[in-house]
């Protein structure tokens, strides 16, 4: 039973990281119908920024808590700036172009950012400092859930709540929902569509950066390639839940996290990624719109 619970919570942790990344995919897709292929790279850049900031601050003699907070804040800020710039360069000029063009441009961006980090930093795995200390009161449950996992779960829950409130009740959230329904009509009612799109990228990047910092300090290793696989998996999660729908992305992420955890826990760990992709293929065959997605009929 303990083994089951451990795997279950492990899957939940995994799922919540996927959820943080998947949010960016699903929100951007909801608004401009583009698979932001480079979103995983934003997550990777967030983790790298946090690593660099944390190392420098630790050498300067800051204490653990302030290092953690500053690293997290700077990682979020830099990720947002990268996402903003990325949108301006690679996607904005292609608003009117066919969707294939924007997708290829996104792939180019992903390739560029990966190699930029590879060349400017290193191709080796870097050890990521443990930014989250082990709390004493978690000690009795340590065989089931570690402090790190608990922090990840709680942070994700808080982030999701804030995001839901933001989208449901603020002006900007309303503008985002309007834009995702109908861009032209939204522009006619006085919504600055370009600003909404930039903003969507920024919110997605912030979520990804938080996820990046949390998972990097949980696993303890990063390199320039982490963004790619995590990005693909998060995308799988977003598609599973029904792309464009935020609750769908969260649900899909948990489903994917559990699938991977249980398959690696009970079947074989060699084929972890294969399970994720097979699952995606199966879902798309039997329910192309995803779990919560609504199927759209083509209008002529």
């Amino acid at each position: 039973m303990n083994y089951f619970l451990e795997i279950f919570l492990g899957g939940l942790t995994r799922g919540s990281i996927y959820a943080l990344i998947a949010l960016g995919y699903t929100m951007v897709y909801g608004i401009i119908e583009l698979i932001n292929f480079a979103h995983g790279e934003i997550y990777m850049i967030g983790a790298f920024t946090a690593l660099i900031v944390a190392s420098v601050l630790t050498l300067l003699g800051f204490n653990t808590l302030s290092v953690f907070i500053l690293a997290l804040v700077l990682a979020v800020i830099y990720s947002c700036c990268y996402a903003f710039t990325m949108e301006k360069i690679a996607y904005k000029p292609l608003r009117q172009a066919p969707r294939l063009s924007a997708l290829i441009s996104a792939i180019g961006m992903s390739l560029f950012l990966q190699n930029y980090v590879l060349l400017a930093q290193t191709s080796d795995f870097l050890p990521f400092p443990r930014l989250i200390p082990d709390f004493d009161f978690m000690e009795p449950y340590a065989h089931i859930i570690t402090t790190q996992e608990a922090v990840i779960l709680i942070t994700t829950a808080i982030f999701m709540t804030i995001l839901t409130i933001f989208i449901k009740f603020t002006r900007m959230g309303k503008a985002m929902r309007a834009t995702s329904q109908d861009k032209v009509m939204a522009a006619l009612t006085g919504i600055d569509v370009n600003r909404v799109i930039s903003f969507t990228f920024i919110v997605g990047a912030a979520a990804a950066a938080v996820g990046g910092v949390l998972i990097a300090s949980h696993i303890g290793m990063i390199n320039f390639y982490i963004g790619f696989i995590a990005g693909i998996k998060a995308f799988v999660a977003a598609v599973l839940g029904g792309i464009g729908s935020i609750p769908g992305a969260v649900l899909g992420s948990f489903v994917l996290g559990w699938t991977e955890s249980f398959c690696t826990g009970y079947v074989s760990s060699d084929y972890e990624d294969v399970f994720a992709f097979l699952f995606l293929v199966l879902i798309l065959i039997f329910r192309p719109a995803g779990i919560l997605g609504r199927s759209e009929s083509n209008k002529v």
Partner: protein, 410 residues
């Protein structure tokens, strides 16, 4: 163009990029010795570079916008290369020269050069194959390298277990490629563009992961070594001559591919693909079987990847899963996009440029993928048609009195 505001914009852009790249470009942490390395020079480079690049970027963007406004002489400009190709007086001597050059190439250059040329030609085949799927049928396939792997492993394993030779393996590899193309095609028939991209990507990764992990079948990450080179009518050739021989084989296959793809383009299937790319619903309304057309595209595209895989295995004599990563798919996609989607000449020149240039510019080889990424973005923003863009056939009624048949323009 007003100078001062432009200067200011570039200056702001340069400041922004200096801020943006600061942590990653300037600071490098040595985690073993706990030293922080500050590389301030990089910041200066980024500043100066982004200053001029942003200027260029805005200049090109404004030119592009102007181009949209006056589209009248657009047709003449874009089809410069194709007009050259229509010119019979020019094309025949040029083609003859090219043919002679390709034939004597391995005799005037070293084995090393020939070997690089073979690699480039393998990519020409891959590019032409992917061009069917992406360029003609408009299905973005990011798992194309899987079929390449299928071909290579087909030859490697068939040779290992049954001692099959190159010439037997070639059609088998092609057939297996086609089979896998159909296998992949079936589940994804119903998917739209971007879902398709991800599923094919997943498919490519599944194949690679299986090859990497299923040790009993594919010998895992260590791969298969000692794959024989093709023998010349039963004779085993020395490495030097085998390279020349493979070179001629690849040239032969490439020529056949070019002819077949060119013919396919104008055939009923080719027209159906282009129709499918342009508008699925209208295409179905015209009575085209969507499922069959898509499967055709996948199968035919994969056939060439399978063949290219067999040639690749024969050329390198060693294969392992590391040669078939997702980036390989993306490089092939780069070739198709850079060259010009749907255009055969474009894809051939794209492959030669993208594979040969990095080989000869060794100093920049580590920047290769960085530059590829930049090229993809740049091409999509400024020249979505590629170097040699595909020429659309335009039919126009000149005057009905002169001739009943509509004349063909290009």
């Amino acid at each position: 163009m007003n100078l001062f505001p432009e200067l200011r914009k570039s200056f702001i852009a340069s400041l922004w990029f200096m801020f943006l790249t600061f942590p990653i470009m300037v600071i490098r942490v040595n985690t073993i010795e706990n030293i922080v390395e500050w590389r301030w020079m990089n910041l200066v480079f980024v500043g100066i570079g982004s200053f001029f690049l942003s200027w260029l970027w805005r200049y090109l963007l404004s030119r592009k916008e102007m181009g949209v406004n006056k589209k009248t002489d657009d047709q003449d400009r874009t089809s410069l290369v194709s007009r050259l190709m229509k010119n019979k007086q020019l094309i025949i001597p040029a083609a003859a020269l090219l043919a002679i050059f390709t034939i004597i190439f391995p005799h005037i250059f070293s084995t090393y050069q020939t070997s690089i040329m073979i690699t480039a030609l393998i990519y020409v085949m891959l590019g032409l194959g992917l061009n069917i799927v992406v360029g003609l049928a408009g299905l973005l396939d990011l798992g194309y390298v899987a079929f390449y792997a299928v071909g290579a492993y087909a030859y490697g394993l068939l040779n290992y277990h049954f001692g099959l030779g190159f010439w037997t393996a070639l059609p088998v590899g092609a057939a297996l490629g086609a089979l896998f193309g159909i296998l992949l095609g079936f589940p994804v028939l119903r998917l739209r563009g971007d879902y398709l991209a991800i599923v094919t990507l997943g498919f490519g990764e599944i194949i690679r992961l299986i090859l990497e992990n299923w040790n009993e079948f594919s010998f895992g990450p260590s791969g298969i070594a000692n794959i024989p080179r093709p023998s010349f009518f039963g004779m085993d050739l020395s490495i030097q001559w085998a390279t020349v021989y493979i070179y001629y084989i690849v040239i032969g296959i490439c020529c056949i591919t070019i002819v077949i793809v060119g013919r396919l383009q104008d055939s009923r299937i080719g027209r159906a693909w282009i129709a499918l790319r342009e508008d699925e619903i209208a295409c179905q309304a015209m009575g085209i079987d969507k499922a069959r057309t898509k499967l055709n595209a996948f199968a035919l595209g994969a056939t060439w990847a399978g063949m290219a895989g067999v040639v690749f295995a024969a050329k390198t004599t060693f294969i392992n899963p590391a040669s078939f990563t997702i980036w390989e798919s993306i490089i092939i996609l780069c070739i198709v996009v850079l060259g010009g989607m749907g255009s055969v000449v474009g894809v051939v020149s794209g492959a030669l440029v993208l594979i040969l240039l990095p080989e000869y510019l060794r100093a920049f080889s580590e920047y290769r993928l960085l530059i590829f990424g930049a090229i993809l973005i740049f091409m999509m923003v400024f020249r979505p048609g590629g170097i040699v863009s595909d020429v659309r056939r335009v039919y126009r009624f000149e005057s009905s009195a002169m001739d009943d048949k509509p004349q063909e323009y290009s």
